[in-house]
Each structure stands twice: as C-alpha cells, then as structure tokens.
C-alpha cells in the first residue's frame, strides 16, 4: 500500500475486523510509523470510553420507580401461591401433613367402598332421613304461616305441598330484596345531603 490509511480503515482495524480486506491494512501499519500512531490514538480513545464509569442514580430511585409500577398478579398465579402457602415449611410438619392427608384419604376411600357395597341400605336410610327432614320443615313452616296468617292459611299451606313452599320462599326473597333496596336508597339519600 503506497498511501497512508484512511480514517475509516483505521476504524476497521479498531473494530477488530478480520478478513482479506484488513490484511493489507495491518501489513501497512506494521511498516508505517504515522499510521501506527494514528491507530494508537484511536485505541487510546476507545480505551478511555471503555473505562468510563457507570454513573449511579439516587438511592431512592428504585423505590420511586416501583411506587408507580402496577404489579398485576394473574388469578392462576395467585391460586398457586395460595396453595403453596398451605404447605408447611418445616420438614417435620410437612411429613405430618402428608401423613394426615394420606390417612384421611384412606379412610374416605374405605367409607366410600363400604357405602358402595351397601348401596341399597344407604339409599333406604337416605330416603328415610330426607322424608323426615321434609316433614319437619313443612311442619315448622306451616306453624310459622299459621301464627302469622291464621289456622286456615296453615291448613292451605300444608295442602299445597312443594308449590306452597316455593311460593313462600319467593315471597320471603322478594321481601328481603325490597328491604335491601329501601335501605340502600335511604343511605344514598342521606349521603347526598
């Protein structure tokens, strides 16, 4: 090469580029004091840049950032965290919890198997209990209707059966909603004042 290196060629060498294009550049530098100096000056600038310190913001910087960041926890992550929170951290307690769960599981399985083997007896007893419960509830509701609306209403209620119960429940629910709505309206009006 019969000329000195161009600034861009110096930069090519500074960038550490390799290849057949840089070979003649390197060869020239080896034999040219002026270009060696130019390359050294370039290296010195790069060295100074690479040794510049990273400057630090104030100590409260990350707290100020976090005060404005919205941390949103997806529901499945919250559920997993809640479940993880139920697991004891202490090893002995973990073993005790697992043993307890295993025992409860085994007992439940045994009871289920026993019940399945005696399904007809279980169904008979369940039906008997249900009938008893229904009769008691009907009697209770009828005496409540009788005490409010008189004996005639109580008799009519007993005769109506499930439909009567449904109507009574609907009437009670309606009264509850009305009461709730009234209280809300009154509260809203008093707040507006």
């Amino acid at each position: 090469m019969e000329r000195h290196l161009l600034p861009d060629e110096i930069d090519q060498l500074l960038d550490g580029e390799v290849g057949f294009e840089t070979a003649p550049l390197k060869a020239h530098v080896r034999g040219c004091a002026e270009c060696t100096q130019a390359l050294e000056r370039g290296r010195a600038v790069v060295q100074e840049l690479e040794h510049l310190p990273q400057l630090r913001p104030s100590l409260a910087f990350s707290d100020r950032v976090m005060s404005k960041v919205q941390v949103f926890v997806p529901w499945h992550v919250a559920l997993a965290d809640w479940a993880r929170g139920l697991v004891p951290r202490n090893r002995s307690w973990r073993i005790a919890a697992i043993t307890g769960l295993a025992t409860a599981g085994a007992l439940l399985t045994a009871v289920s198997v026993w019940a399945l083997m005696r399904l007809d007896a279980v169904l008979f007893v369940s039906e008997m209990l249900w009938d008893r419960l229904r009769a008691e509830a009907m009697s209770l509701l009828a005496s409540a209707v009788g005490s409010v609306l008189g004996d005639g209403a109580a008799v009519a209620f007993r005769a109506s059966g499930a439909m009567g119960v449904g109507l009574l429940v609907a009437a009670l629910a309606g009264c509850a909603l009305l009461a709730f709505g009234t209280v809300r309206a009154v509260a809203a009006r008093s707040r507006a004042r």
Binding site: P7, D8, R41, G42, L55, R56, V65, V69, V71, R84
Partner: protein
C-alpha cells in the same frame, strides 16, 4: 406477591425475569430495575448532562417498560428494548429543550423597551450548587467534555458501543437505524473525540 424462595433472581437471565414479572412477582420487577438502573441512567445522564432530569427520564423509562411488560417478546433482548425507550425519551427531551432555548438578547416578540428588558436573559457568573458541583465532578474529565460536544445521534451510538459494549447489530436494532448508519456514526464520533482530545492536550 413474592417469588418462591428457592429462586435466585440475581442469576436469572433477563427473559426469565421478565416472565416472572409478567406473573406478578414484584421481586422480579425490582431485580430488573436493580440490574439496569446504572446503565440506563449513565446513558441518559451523558446525553442530557443534568442529573435531576436524567433521573426523571430514567424513571419514566422503567415505568413505561415495566407497566407494559406484557408486550416484551423473549426472542429479543430485554436490554435492547429498555435502551430503545430510554433513547427515544432522551431524544424527545433534547428536542423540546432546543425549542425552548431563550435568546440572551430578549424575546423577538418584545415590542417595547420594558418588554425587551423583562425577557432578556442575564448571563452572569454564579456559584455552583452542590448538585452542579457533583455533576461537574462526574462529567468533568476531558473525554466526558468531548462526548458532550458530539451530536446526540453520535453520542448515543458511541456510548452504546463502547460503554455498554453492544454490538453494531444490537445498536442498529435499538436505535432503529441501518447498520451502515450506525458504523458511520461511530466512526465519525471516534474521529471527533480523537480531534477534541488531541486539541485539549496541545
């Protein structure tokens, strides 16, 4: 909601931290801030050269990134995305600052002598505040002064290349510039720095 205790956040790659942050782990957010607060602040401070403004811009950068962490795509580097936003906010600020430059000879819209006097900017020597003194110390070296004289585009490229050790390709992706333009900016920045330092030493 804290991260599970067995996780060592300090050694996790950025993409994994970002995934934990998306899952609502506050500690992951904090680790991302801790990891990048110095590089982001350094880049902005050397561009803007005002500590208070730099902290505001750095804060805004992190808030923007972390509040939109769901937009981060793991196939790209998290740091590139962060630096891109930092650079965009800084360039916008520098442009607004340029538009607000006050004439030291008074407002061109002043009609009377009283209005000219009211809008004239008095340039007088004044003592440095503690903050300014700290800034002078931090950015007072010859190389820092030379960097301050570079055009903002050259400054961003040279700082990302040699202070943050980013490759040319990463810088091009971060600043949305063609690769050739990034190389040109860096080469020109080096030349200007070489000349500035040489004249200071003479």
């Amino acid at each position: 909601m804290p991260a599970p205790p067995h996780l060592d956040l300090v050694n996790l790659p950025d993409a994994d931290l970002a995934a934990l942050a998306r899952a609502g782990r506050e500690s992951a957010f904090r680790e991302l801030v801790r990891r990048y607060e110095r590089p982001v602040f350094s880049l902005i401070f050397r561009m803007v050269r005002d500590r208070e403004t730099s902290e505001d811009l750095a804060q805004e950068t992190f808030i923007k990134v972390l509040n939109h962490i769901d937009r981060y795509r793991p196939e790209f580097k998290f740091s590139s995305w962060l630096f891109k936003i930092a650079n965009n906010l800084t360039i916008d600020h520098l442009r607004k600052r340029q538009l607000k430059t006050i004439s030291i000879d008074g407002s061109p819209h002043a009609a009377t002598a009283a209005e000219v006097e009211a809008s004239t900017f008095d340039v007088e020597a004044r003592g440095e505040s503690a903050l300014e003194e700290m800034q002078s110390r931090e950015l007072g070296s010859a190389i820092e002064k030379a960097i301050a004289k570079l055009r903002p585009e050259y400054r961003a490229c040279i700082l990302l290349r040699h202070v943050e050790d980013r490759s040319y390709e990463e810088i091009a992706a971060t600043l949305d510039l063609p690769l050739g333009t990034v190389k040109t900016y860096i080469h020109r920045a080096r030349h200007e720095l070489r000349d500035a330092l040489a004249s200071l030493r003479e």
